[in-house]
Amino acid sequence: MVEKKKNPIRVLVAKPGLDGHDKGAKVVVRALRDAGMEAIYTGLHQTIDQIVRAAIQEDVDVIGLSILSGAYLGLTAKLMKRLKEEEIEDKWVILGGVIPREDIPRLKEMGAAEVFPVGTSFEEIIHFIQGKVRKEG
């Protein structure tokens, strides 16, 4: 057993851009909460600036972007740039949604810790976050 952290893991689940497909984001929030994490959902139509601000205010360990509009490369690049400008290094970035496997290496090069395409189980996501934040966070 890994020793439990005093405070629960905090995760921001964000919907950048105008994409209105939010079922995936919402069910993941619920699953993370049921796994004992504090998961915060931004709601729809968020700009990257709004997401970074929320991540700072909420002092989260993980930022999860949910993107089903195909704009994942541009949005991830924007997010990583903003995080760098704000000198934020203590937050893991993960992605979910409609993302082709061939683009996953590029997203990881940009700085995404992991990518969870459509069809990923809750268990995989929870397991990954728990492993990352407890071991390295």
Binding site: G17, L18, D19, G20, H21, D22, K23, K26, V27, V29, R30, A31, A39, Y41, G43, L44, H45, T47, S69, G70, A71, G74, L75, V98, P100, R101, E102, P117, V118, G119, S121, F122, E123
Partner: protein
């Protein structure tokens, strides 16, 4: 004819001798209706045939809205798709018209749907994706260049900016010298489901509802052939609702719209014949068929009994349906062709009026030309090779289907009564109640899929480990589309009369705050080449912006 007692005795004997002592496993429909192992005349003996079933083309329309159904006219095969630029869209439309398809369907990009102009830096990733960008009347003029609007009908997938797009369409007609009373088409224009599922809402619910009433009122007087609204259960179903919730939320929204229009002293028969509906076709064949039959019956009763409609057309629930993409799997995507066929079959056996079959790779990609082609072929094979179009309501009279239709109707009524008790659909959305119920259902369903309690063949059951995952083909953004669109917008902004634009925008604001019909002022603003974003900004000043209620 065997008597009731004889049937009951025979059924008891059958149960004892044939089923034996081993308990029959329990089963439920996806909406939670417990299912018998077998249905007999006893299950429908209380059903009043003339009151609940009747004949197609007659009240209560359970069996379909037209007397001869598909033997008279097949359902309309309407495949929805989006294109990048106004020029491409125009070329594509001219092609479709040349091939004899008189009905066009416009998909807009998300900035147009959400009220942003193409030069807004916050949305640059989304210009010209999933549909065409329309910033000003000029874009609309290009889309319909050389297409006489009185010879075609156009379906617009547009919601919070529907009034603006309608104003542009009417302005194009006027420029073509076509009388607006001759133009026809369909606006989606169903804002309530945007708060629940689709997510393009801009303004708070109440002023949004007022805009819809403005459109209905204006079209009644000036554009009588326009189907003013398509009230949707489809989107909330795809967001996780079950079939009962789908119909209950849809019909409760319809009630909210009708009551909003009533506030203006307009009678039901003056506008209800132009209401239409959108539903999803899921893979549970019998529950879906029962759902469609129940929905028609319920709407007919609401229109007649609650709203005192006299015109049978006000009581007819005409609907467009799309096959569900949420039952598709990312693994072995070709299996989705079979799922799409079964979903389409449920729509046709349920009496759909117009149908879209979802491309097989839509669980994880934007449809290709090949998959759109296969989707249309699915419809054509069902229509021309299976014989299902030959008889109206072919499943009517099945003990099971009639009993299930009745059960679905009861459950839907139950959910609708709860919504009424809680103050109606608008109040429930404002309080976030419906959003929470949909979320809860979506979460439970997702857990059942992950545990294998809801089977997805090839994904959570009979998975073939040796099969490699498919390569996804995603629509790549074409930076030229954005550049071109922004250039055109800047050119228009430089050429137009800025003073006049400002005056017309002021009049839009005045109309919005005075409560008069918004359409005349929007038409003036559109003709002055005010942009979609400018008109939305003017309306926002008066209406405010919607703040999402947390539903998780």
């Amino acid at each position: 004819m065997s008597s009731r007692d004889q049937i009951q005795k025979a059924e008891e004997r059958w149960g004892q001798t044939c089923l034996g002592k081993k308990p029959v496993p329990e089963e439920k429909s996806p909406s939670g209706i417990p299912l018998e192992i077998l249905y007999t005349p006893l299950d429908v003996e209380k059903l009043n045939f003339l009151e609940k079933v009747g004949f197609p083309g007659e009240y209560p329309f359970t069996r379909g809205v037209y007397p001869t159904m598909y033997r008279g006219n097949l359902w309309t095969m309407r495949q929805y798709a989006g294109f990048g630029t106004p020029e491409e869209t125009n070329r594509r439309y001219k092609n479709l018209l040349a091939q004899g398809q008189p009905g066009l369907s416009v998909a807009f990009d998300l900035p147009t749907q959400c009220g942003y102009d193409s030069d807004d830096p916050s949305i640059e990733e989304e210009v010209g994706k999933v549909g065409v960008a329309v910033d000003t009347l000029h874009d609309m003029e290009i889309i319909f260049e050389g297409i006489p609007l009185d010879k075609i009908t156009t379906s617009f997938t547009i919601n919070p900016t529907a009034a603006i797009i309608l104003a542009m369409y009417l302005a194009v007609a006027e420029k073509q010298g076509v009388l607006v009373e001759k133009i026809g088409g369909t606006l989606q224009n169903d804002i309530l489901k945007e708060y629940l599922a689709r997510g393009t809402q801009i303004f708070p619910p109440r002023p949004s509802l007022r805009l819809i009433a403005d459109i209905i009122e204006y079209c009644k007087d000036h554009v009588p052939k326009m189907n003013t609204i398509s009230i949707s259960g489809y989107h909330v179903r795809e967001a996780g609702a079950n079939a009962v919730q789908e119909v209950a939320y849809c019909l409760s929204s319809a009630i909210a719209y009708v009551e909003e229009v009533f506030k203006r002293g307009i009678g039901i028969d003056e506008f209800a014949p132009r209401l239409s509906f959108i539903f999803a076709c899921g893979p549970d064949l019998f529950e879906e068929v029962a759902k469609f039959r129940a929905a028609r019956q319920l709407w007919a009763k609401i229109a007649k009994e609650r709203f005192a409609a006299q015109d049978p057309r006000s009581m007819m629930l005409r609907f467009f349906a799309g096959t569900m993409a949420s039952c598709y799997t990312a693994h072995e995507p070709l299996n989705n062709l079979i799922r799409g066929t079964i979903c389409a079959l449920s729509g046709v056996l349920g009496g759909v009026n117009s149908l879209h079959v979802t491309g097989y790779e839509e669980a994880h990609a934007i449809p290709t030309e090949e998959s759109s082609h296969l989707a249309l072929r699915t419809q054509q094979i069902l229509a021309y090779e299976t014989g299902i179009a030959k008889v109206a309501d072919p499943l009517g009279g099945s003990y099971y289907v009639e009993a299930l239709t009745e059960e679905m109707a009861q459950k839907i009524r139950g959910v609708m009564e709860k919504i009424e008790e809680d103050g109606g659909m608008l109040a429930c959305i404002e309080k976030g109640k419906i959003q929470q119920a949909v979320m809860q259902q979506a979460y439970e369903t997702e857990q059942m899929i992950q545990k294998g309690q809801i089977v997805r063949v090839g994904e959570n059951k009979f998975r073939s480990p040796e099969r490699k995952e498919p390569d996804l083909i995603l629509q790549k953004a074409d930076p030229e589309v954005v550049r071109h669109q922004v250039q055109r917008l800047h050119k228009i902004k430089a050429q137009r009369d800025g003073q006049k634009v400002q005056e017309t925008l002021n009049r839009v604001k005045e109309a919005a705050s005075s409560g008069g019909n918004i359409l005349p002022s929007l038409i003036q603003a559109v003709k002055a080449y005010a942009t979609n974003g400018e008109m939305v900004a003017a309306l926002k000043e008066v209406f405010g912006e919607y703040r999402e209620i947390s539903s998780v």
